[in-house]
Symmetry: C2
Subunit: 376 residues, 2 copies
């Protein structure tokens, strides 16, 4: 057992704020809603959620614990959802919109930013409209369905003078940040290898994620992107080439243009190499492994919603869990309102790099060739 | 704590023979030299060891616990080694040879087989000479430095009417066999993915393993071959294509023709895919991961000399450790003398498949293309 002091120090160091109360018997008890995210005081970010599906539901629930972010608007094509969500989250009728009329947020001072949580192929057009309305954009990953669209989104937001952030929740997660810190501080020595196994067996064959027109692709857009993005922040370099191989065992469920399983590799300037898997047809994955000259960090789960588990050459290094989307939205409030610079970028340029890599992976699959990249 | 009965049953099931004695106090005690390998009674295989380096030393020590294999001859270019080993293992002077005169084993009834444990590039010529002398050949992996040589070795042994076995010790290891059994019995469902991370940071830059003329290559020949071979027995199919990517961070230590780090992928007829790493420049590897529709097996260490650790979707499934080379040599005695068929082949054709894959990987690296394979 750790001593109380050590435990407190650990929490304090890893989280900055103490989510615990000492009972009279001296036993530590968690408070009902532990809040651990380090976020400076400041104005609250007033957020409209666009696309009230299952992930928006997760975000909305997580935001109830936010200190600096609040749901103040709703955008949906389903009137009954606007009503039920409006009631649940106290969003008045004049801050509820549909996809025809949401440009009117322009004149709504109760909305600072829109979090776009719609099917991938819709992000581009919706982002352009939100930017034109003069509101900041938080866009769920993937930011778009290709780099061309992503570039246009970055340009539109720059032109409109609004911020564009991508919903990279792992960039604020304690275990992820600790691994990046260890790498930066040299605890792993020179980085040699990254492995990212990202995937799951997808259920309902009729969902939008398996519809090329809505998803813009398959597993790579949705889950493979975690391995791409993870490789970049874990290795700490931008890849200079990719190779990729596709297999499809179920062409009925995974139709033309919807990738089931792709293995891909990325080379980095230092000579480090990443070996990754993206799949919609396997469980028991969600693993990152960063291997350096002097040590390693392994995370499994590495990007799931639940607690992340981490170990290194020195043993278990798991940090306490905080709901990722709670931390994300508080931090994004500070990025938008205070111009805070996050440890790992979440801006449009960051999202665009991942889209360029996805484009390159798809070209590598179709051509069979190594595809060079210039992301810096 | 498990009950005694359960523990005994477990050992009995996993090993067949009980290496334990019950003390008077009822506490289980391991006997000094536990012997667990299941091997039928039969004549002893009289083995000459060729090449008295560090791995031969490991084999010789392990053979002291063998029931059916015995060191009866020695072949070395170093007279002092012949003397010291001869004394240690009771090999009389007339069964000690050098590389000039070892063809005379032909007339030595005290030698049934020669275990070739010399640098890779020498295996081919030595194998042909042993076969010509009418003795069975056990050849350390890689069997040769390319498929052409391997094929000639298979043909020479067939022509001479002797057996050719490759030193694949993992093919007799309890955890490996258990994983293969689980896959065969459908416990993992359809196999989707295999990952093999094989490598270590090699020390002394002047050793033969880093000399292209003696090693025939670099990490792939020596350690990457475990991932190749492992992919085949774990997936239970023969690959139909390979792709591969090489990086070299230390061209001084790893000279032209000596590969440092290669990632490679193999596709199988079922749609399963293997993603592998071969390296002489990283630690913290030695990991196999076999992922199926219904479950997985992970082994780490997966091919090291020490105890193998295994877990599955159901938890820890590690089997007791027995020195690999002890089991290997006993089993090889049964293969040679009793025509026993091992669960996973170790014959020349098995070795030749791995050499064909190594040739294909090297072609994939140099050409940048996917290379098709026809091994069946």
């Amino acid at each position: 057992m750790k001593s109380r002091r050590t435990f407190l120090q650990h929490l304090t160091m890893s989280a900055g704020i103490l989510p615990l109360a000492l009972s009279q018997t001296g036993i530590l008890q968690a408070m009902p809603k532990p809040y651990i995210s380090q976020v400076p005081d400041g104005p609250v970010l007033k957020v409209a959620l666009m696309g009230l599906g299952s992930y928006a539901d997760r975000v909305a629930k997580a935001m109830q614990d936010c200190k600096r972010a609040k749901i103040t608007g709703l955008i949906s094509g389903t009137p009954s959802k606007l009503e039920s969500w409006g009631a649940e989250y106290n969003v008045p009728e004049n801050s509820r919109y549909n996809y025809e009329n949401f440009d009117a947020i322009k004149d709504n001072p109760e909305i600072d930013a829109v979090y776009i949580i719609t099917p991938n192929a819709q992000h581009h057009g919706q982002c352009l409209r939100v930017a034109a309305a003069g509101k900041h954009v938080i866009c769920e990953k993937p930011m778009s369905i290709n780099a061309k669209e992503g570039r246009e989104m970055v340009e539109a937001c720059e032109k409109a003078g609004v911020k564009l952030l991508i919903g990279y929740r792992m960039h604020f997660e304690a275990n992820t940040l600790n691994a990046v810190r260890m790498r930066k501080e040299g605890e792993l020595g020179d980085i040699r290898f990254f492995q990212g196994l990202s995937g799951f067996r997808i259920g309902d064959p009729n969902q939008w994620r398996l519809d090329k027109d809505l998803a813009g692709g398959g597993a790579m857009m949705d889950i493979g992107i975690y391995a791409i993005n993870g490789a970049r922040y874990m290795v700490g370099e931008e890849p200079i080439w990719v190779t990729a191989q596709e297999v499809k065992t179920d062409p009925v469920k995974f139709k033309e243009g919807v990738d089931e399983t792709i293995t891909f590799q990325m080379g980095f300037p230092s000579g480090a190499i990443a070996s990754c898997l993206s799949t919609y047809n396997m469980n028991y994955l969600d693993k990152f492994f960063l291997n350096g000259e002097k040590g390693f960090v392994e995370m499994q789960p590495s990007t799931g919603y639940g607690p992340i588990k981490a170990k290194s050459h020195e043993g278990d290094i798991t940090k306490p869990h905080v709901t990722h989307q709670t931390t994300q939205m508080d931090q994004m409030a500070a990025i938008i309102h205070d111009d805070m610079e996050p440890e790992i970028p979440v801006d449009g340029q960051e999202g665009l790099k991942d889209m360029k890599i996805i484009d390159a992976i798809m070209l590598a699959v179709s051509s069979g060739n190594k595809v060079k990249l210039d992301l810096v």
